[in-house]
């Protein structure tokens, strides 16, 4: 019984952590953009504009939930949630700390779901997220949305594969598909983590994750310069807000996965620093990747559609294969 209560509490904490961090990231991204573009970003709402997201939220909630006549209503309405709920679910396999940790008087595992197919769950949920975009584009019955959805479908399929293969390298080294065990095998200082032996896989996964997140330079499904707003052209009010929000939730999830697989999860960079609780290190690592995403977004231009496909199939895919084969050979020998 207590375990069930713990499960609910842990689930709530992780969920609200995701949502709260996403809200702060929206503000953070705008501040960061301001810093990059020599302007201030939001300043009025709260100190340094931290409450900006909540102001936006209130505004979006008050707006009319405009649903055009020509849309496929049920699909149109459910699409925004499909984009981020599956992604947020895969947070359940991320370990935030050691198993059987002592919290005040109780002992519990600092992970919601400790099971052997954690990687599979993440990959499956990642693939589900594409339904959100494709449904949104298709149900909108708008040409821009449709083009965005088609692009997104092609892009996700192309980049899901190198991403999966990049993870397989780590799985071979760890000998497990359980994320808790993958973190456990990355013991020691930061050069013992998998980013070093799996450097190629790490880079491939990072690039592919940008494509999965639809962020610059791979933000083709919503390319403003080409497709107005891509798959979310017809959305307005809070449904549009959820799309925007989903992007940040997905970013957190993807960063957490990357931290877990390649940067030792909740482990401190030096063993002596492990006195600091694990979740602090995990959050720091998540923030590091999110910083990289933001940095890239505000720096470089976008790829063209055919160049994106070239990069996915002709560069990342063969590299991921070679990486996999070499890793397997090294482990066997």
């Amino acid at each position: 019984m207590t375990q069930l209560i713990f499960l609910v509490i842990k689930g709530c904490i992780v969920f609200f952590f995701c949502v709260g961090l996403a809200a702060m990231l929206i503000w953070g991204e705008r501040k960061f953009a301001g810093f990059m573009q020599s302007r201030l970003g939001p300043t009025y709402a709260g100190p340094g504009g931290v409450l900006q997201t909540f102001g936006d939220l209130a505004k979006l909630l008050r707006k009319e939930d405009l649903t055009p006549d020509w849309v496929d209503k049920p699909v149109y309405k459910i699409a925004p949630y499909l984009l981020w709920v599956p992604a947020a679910l895969s947070m359940s396999v991320i370990p935030f700390g050691p198993l059987d940790a002592k919290i005040f008087a109780w002992r519990t595992d600092l992970v919601i779901a400790n099971f052997d197919a954690g990687v599979v769950l993440f990959l499956a949920m990642g693939s589900l997220a594409i339904y959100g975009i494709v449904f949104a584009g298709w149900a909108s019955n708008s040409r821009w949305s449709l083009m965005g959805a088609i692009r997104s479908g092609a892009q996700m399929i192309s980049y899901e594969l190198p991403m999966g293969f990049a993870l397989v390298g780590v799985m071979i080294l760890a000998g497990s598909m359980n994320l808790v065990e993958i973190v456990d095998t990355q013991s020691g200082n930061f050069w013992n983590w998998y980013w070093l032996p799996q450097l190629v896989g790490f880079v491939i996964f990072f690039i592919a994750s940008i494509a999965e997140l639809n962020r610059t330079p791979f933000d083709l499904p919503e390319a403003e310069q080409e497709l107005v707003a891509g798959f979310m052209t017809e959305y307005s009010g809070m449904r549009w807000g959820i799309f925007m929000f989903a992007e940040y939730v997905n970013m957190i999830v993807m960063s957490a996965i990357m931290a877990t697989f390649f940067l030792g999860g909740w482990k401190a960079p030096f063993e002596a620093w492990n006195v600091v609780p694990g979740f602090v290190w995990l959050i720091l690592k998540i923030m590091f990747f999110i910083f990289l995403y933001m940095w890239i977004r505000w720096t470089i231009p976008r790829y063209r559609y055919n160049q994106l496909m070239d990069l996915g199939w002709k560069v990342l895919m063969p590299l991921a294969f070679v990486n996999l084969v070499v890793t397997a050979l090294v482990v066997v020998i």
């Binding site: 040409r143 933000d219 390319a223 403003e224 310069q225 231009p301 976008r302 063209r304």
Partner: protein
């Protein structure tokens, strides 16, 4: 348009220069062929498309990601400038020309005044010509900086636009010092310019000119080392010199196709004959070449302004011609003759002879021509403005066909179009 000659003296790097045949071949290779079994998706790009330049509307047929057909549509910003001009005296038209292309408004003032001066046969004093040249080149720099930011944004990099605006601000401040206005200058006058250079202008200008080249080369480092931009901008939107001639595409787009045609050199006006400058020419005829031309033009503009400041002659800034020229305000308050002249110019207008004249100048975005028909009255009987943007808009059809959706806006931006100038 006079046929631009192709056989200039070859520079040292002849090897790199593609011939017209090679360009034709490259153009055919980079454009996607139209498939027979195409499934066409027709979309209306603009005027509500967030990234379309101005209120341009193009009905585009896409086959997947490839443009099959383009039907450009202009006129959404039609304000009847040409008709309006028929009810205004020549002096009153000058502020109207500002509004044609509000990013390069001095160039429009200048073009109009050159046309009227040609009709009258008026000699502009040397100092006025030098001030005009400075203002024109300042316009070119600020226009190209704005263009650069927007152009990089067309390819998805948002931050760059803000950086370019920061440097453009220096030119805007210089304009503010020069004539009090930042955007619509109305600085040119028939027979001269409105004001003399203010005190301290030359020093401040030199300061800005020392600073700008470092910034421009910083941009070049940022852009030319960006592999994504190079991949995106090279070999798209190839528009050879014969295409340019057929569709009357002028300005940087023409020079990027290897044609050394620049009205500052070919039909000199203002102080350009007395100034040494290079005409920036590139030979690849693609979007990247147009970007290179503009970057080099900015460097040349800086040199031109420096030379003008160094060789600035003394003397009046307005021609002595009571029949056509608006006197300076400070003279009006002091001399009876000037007061009568001012009264006549304001209430009657300049006594322009009957005749017909066409004069074009090299504005930052292309050749801008004014065709003035006068029946001898102070108001033009007919004023036609041959703006480069109009021709650039019609050239979207051959420029976009066979290109990909992602590059459509980028290619359109690379010829630098302002719909205010196009629709008039």
């Amino acid at each position: 348009m006079s046929a631009p000659s192709q056989d200039q003296a070859p520079p040292a790097f002849t090897v790199l220069r593609p011939t017209l045949e090679e360009l034709r071949d490259r153009k055919a290779r980079t454009r996607q062929p139209v498939r027979d079994d195409r499934e066409v998706l027709t979309v209306s790009m603009g005027p509500h498309h967030p990234s379309m330049h101005g209120v341009f509307r193009a009905v585009v047929d896409f086959d997947g990601e490839v443009v099959v057909a383009v039907r450009p549509e202009v006129g959404n910003l039609h304000r009847g400038v040409e008709k309006l001009a028929e009810s205004l005296t020549y002096h009153q038209i000058i502020p109207l020309t500002d509004r044609l292309h509000y990013v390069a408004s001095f160039a429009q003032n200048h073009g109009f005044c050159e046309a009227v001066e040609k009709l009258i046969g008026l000699e502009v004093p040397a100092r006025a010509r030098f001030i005009r040249t400075i203002a024109h080149e300042m316009t070119r720099i600020s226009n190209h900086l704005l263009w650069l930011g927007i152009h990089i944004m067309d390819f998805g990099a948002i931050t760059f636009q803000q950086i370019c605006f920061r440097e453009r601000e220096y030119m805007m401040d210089m304009f503010e010092m020069l004539c009090g206005a930042r955007l619509t200058h109305s600085f040119c006058r028939i027979g001269g310019v409105a004001k003399d250079l203010p005190d301290g202008f030359a020093e401040r200008m030199r300061g800005a000119l020392d600073f700008l080249p470092t910034r421009i080369s910083e941009y070049e480092r940022l852009i030319d080392q960006n592999r994504i931009f190079l991949k995106r901008a090279k070999d798209i939107g190839i528009f050879t010199s014969e295409d340019c001639a057929a569709w009357r595409v002028t300005g940087p787009a023409l020079r990027a196709a290897g044609v050394e045609r620049d009205l500052r050199r070919n039909e000199p006006y203002a102080a350009y004959p007395e100034i040494e400058f290079e005409v920036a020419v590139e030979y690849e005829a693609d979007v990247y070449a147009r970007y290179r031309v503009r970057m080099r033009e900015m460097q040349e503009s800086i040199k031109i302004i420096r030379q003008c400041l160094d060789n600035m002659p003394d003397g009046p800034i307005l021609a002595k011609d009571a029949a056509h020229v608006m006197p300076r305000k400070k003279d009006v308050m002091r001399s009876a003759a000037a007061m009568v002249q001012d009264f006549m110019q304001v209430f009657v207008g300049p006594q322009v002879p009957a005749g017909e004249v066409y004069r074009s100048v090299e504005t930052p975005h292309g050749e801008l021509g004014f065709h003035v028909v006068s029946d001898g009255s102070p108001k033009p009987q007919r004023l036609h403005i041959a703006t480069p943007c109009f021709f650039h808009c019609q050239a979207t059809t051959p420029m976009w066909e066979g290109e990909m959706l992602a590059d459509v806006v980028g290619i359109f931006g690379s010829v630098d179009v302002c719909l205010g100038s196009c629709d008039r």
